[in-house]
Symmetry: C2
Subunit: 205 residues, 2 copies
C-alpha cells in the first residue's frame, strides 16, 4: 500500500477498483459481512475483520476508513444501486413501481446474495448505531434519486413511503418469512407490491 489516493477512502470506493486491489476489497467485504453476522455491529472491530480477511489493518483503513464506512460499504456491495437506480428510473414511467420491486426481488432471490444481505439487514435493524448508517445509505442511494426524478412538492415523503413498502416486503418475505408472502411467486409480488409503489410515486396526494 505504497500509493495514497488524493481522495478519501470512502469516496474512492465508488469507482471501479483495479484488479489486485479488487481481490483485497472483496476479501475484506466478505470478512466484514461474516464478522457483523457473527458478532453484531458492536462486537465487530476493523482489526477482527482485517484478521479474518488476511490483510493488514492499514490496508483495510486505506480501502474503507472506519467501521461505519465498512458497514456502509457492505450494504452497497450486494446491491450496487449506483448502477441500478438510474436505469430503473429511466424506463417507462407507468411501470416504475414494478421495475423497482422486480429489481429488489431479483437481488434478494439470488442464493449467493441473500445470506449476506440478510446479515446486513439484521445488523442494520437490530442495532442502534447501525440503523442510522442503513438509513443514510437508503437516503443517498435510493430515496434522493427517486425523489429527484419526481418533481413534485411531496417527493420526499413519496420516496420514504416507497422505502417503507420495500423494506416491509423484504422483512415479511425473508426475515419473518410469513408463509404466504414467502411462498408467493416473484411475478405476483411485482404486480401487487409494484402497484403500491407506483401509487406512492405518482398518484395525486
Amino acid at each position: 500500500m505504497a500509493e495514497q489516493a488524493a481522495d478519501s477512502p470512502v469516496r474512492r470506493r465508488r469507482g471501479r477498483p483495479r484488479k489486485g486491489e479488487s481481490d483485497a476489497r472483496e476479501r475484506i467485504l466478505a470478512a466484514a459481512t461474516e464478522e457483523f453476522g457473527e458478532n453484531g455491529y458492536d462486537g465487530t472491530t476493523t482489526r477482527s475483520i482485517a484478521a479474518r480477511a488476511g490483510v493488514d489493518p492499514a490496508s483495510l483503513h486505506h480501502h474503507f476508513g472506519t467501521k461505519a464506512d465498512l458497514f456502509a460499504a457492505s450494504i452497497d456491495a450486494p446491491l450496487r444501486p449506483d448502477i441500478a437506480v438510474p436505469e430503473i428510473l429511466a424506463g417507462p414511467r407507468e411501470h416504475t413501481g414494478e421495475r423497482i420491486i422486480a429489481y429488489i426481488l431479483g437481488v434478494w432471490e439470488s442464493p449467493t446474495v441473500r445470506p449476506k444481505a440478510l446479515v446486513i439487514l439484521r445488523t442494520g435493524l437490530g442495532n442502534k448505531h447501525a440503523a442510522p448508517l442503513m438509513a443514510t445509505f437508503l437516503r443517498r442511494e435510493l430515496l434522493e434519486r427517486v425523489a429527484a426524478s419526481l418533481n413534485l412538492p411531496d417527493a420526499g415523503l413519496r420516496a420514504d413511503l416507497v422505502a417503507s413498502q420495500v423494506a416491509g416486503m423484504i422483512i415479511a418475505r425473508y426475515v419473518l418469512q410469513l408463509p404466504e408472502i414467502a411462498a408467493a411467486p416473484v411475478d405476483e409480488l411485482v404486480t401487487r407490491v409494484g402497484a403500491t409503489v407506483q401509487r406512492y410515486l405518482f398518484d395525486p396526494a
Copy 2:
C-alpha cells in the same frame, strides 16, 4: 406460589390476572424488555430477568414458562391485539385500512409504549431465534384474524401484504427514522398508508 393453575402458563396469561399477581407480571415484563434490550435475545436468561424483576425464578416460570414464551408475552404487552383487532375488523369496511394504520400509529406514538416496542422490534428482527417468535405472534394475533374476516381465496396473501406495509411503515418511521416519513403527521400516514392497506385487503387481484 402455592397454587397451580390447571392450564399452562402461556394460555393462562391471556386472561385478566388478579391484583397481586398482576404486579409481579408487570415487573417481570418490564424486566424482560430491559434485559432483551441490553443483552439481546441470546444474552438474556430467564434467571437474569427474574433477578432484575426481584422475583423468584419459579414465579417467573409459573407466569410465563420459557424464555420464548416470555419474549412472545413482551410483544403482546404493549399492543393487546386480542382487544383491538376484533374492534378494528368490526367497523365499516370502507375504512378498515385507515383504522388499522390509526390503531398501530396510536400505539407507537405513545411516549411510554414506544421505547419498549422499539426494543422488542429490534430484538425480533435482529435475531435469528426471535424472528420466528415475532412471526408467530403476528400470524396468530393479526394475520389469521384479518384473513378470516376477508372470505377470499387469496386472503392469506392479502393479510401478509398488509403486514409487510405495516412493518415497513414502523421501521421507516421509528427505526430508520427516514426524515419525511418520521416527520409526517399521523393523519397523513393514516390516509396514504391506510389506502394501501385497504387495497391489499379488498381490491380485486
